[in-house]
Point group: C2
């Protein structure tokens, strides 16, 4: 029997791999394509529903600088078919570095953890 | 039979009422006092576990300016004993106004929705 928590953390890692690789197909595969999904990028208004969320990934992946994520403080919780991961995204994008406190919420469908909510909140430089 | 979604939205409203009223007892009653709770105030690093989260409310409630929240774009989703609310917090604190995109995640325990995660992400002025 696979460890659900390992699978959740792996799905979370796959999200950041798709982000770094600017892989729209992989990003699309990771999300539920439903109306209740929500994505809030740092500084952005919340985006609701898969069409708006999908468009934001397309826009972000056109940026000048690829992003590299170093994930720290990864913490996961599972309740039934829901699981969430909190993580610090230590983000390097070209000349810029920033740390973003993020939450990723997943629903388990047909055995696979699918993203339904991503929120990133920029941490002010200390 | 009470409507679970109404109860969830009411718990969410109670959270902002406690915030406005700087009511530590009410805020404490709303949260699960467990290790897995997470709270991320805008610009702050994530706080993990009830002691750290509780201390942050104590600190915030010492601020000079009471905060007033006008909630817009309230959207809720329930899956079993978990529910989450996304909301725009239109926040007035003395001379300052800001909009924060927030997510509040609740677990249902003994029939009551209890906060386990609050994340606020400041929306950059357009």
């Amino acid at each position: 029997m696979p460890d659900l928590d390992d699978e959740l953390v792996a799905a979370n890692a796959a999200f950041y791999a798709a982000f770094e690789q600017r892989d729209l197909d992989a990003m699309s595969e990771l999300w539920l394509h439903e109306d209740h999904v929500v994505c809030t990028h740092p500084g952005w208004a919340s985006l609701h529903g898969w069409p708006a969320v999908s468009a934001s990934w397309f826009a972000l992946f056109q940026g000048d600088h690829p992003m590299q994520f170093i994930l720290t403080k990864v913490s996961s919780t599972i309740r039934g078919d829901l699981g969430w991961v909190t993580v610090d995204e230590n983000l390097i994008a070209g000349p810029q570095a920033q740390t973003v406190a993020a939450v990723n919420l997943f629903e388990r469908r047909d055995g696979a953890w699918k993203l339904v909510l991503h929120v990133g909140s920029g941490i002010a430089p200390g």
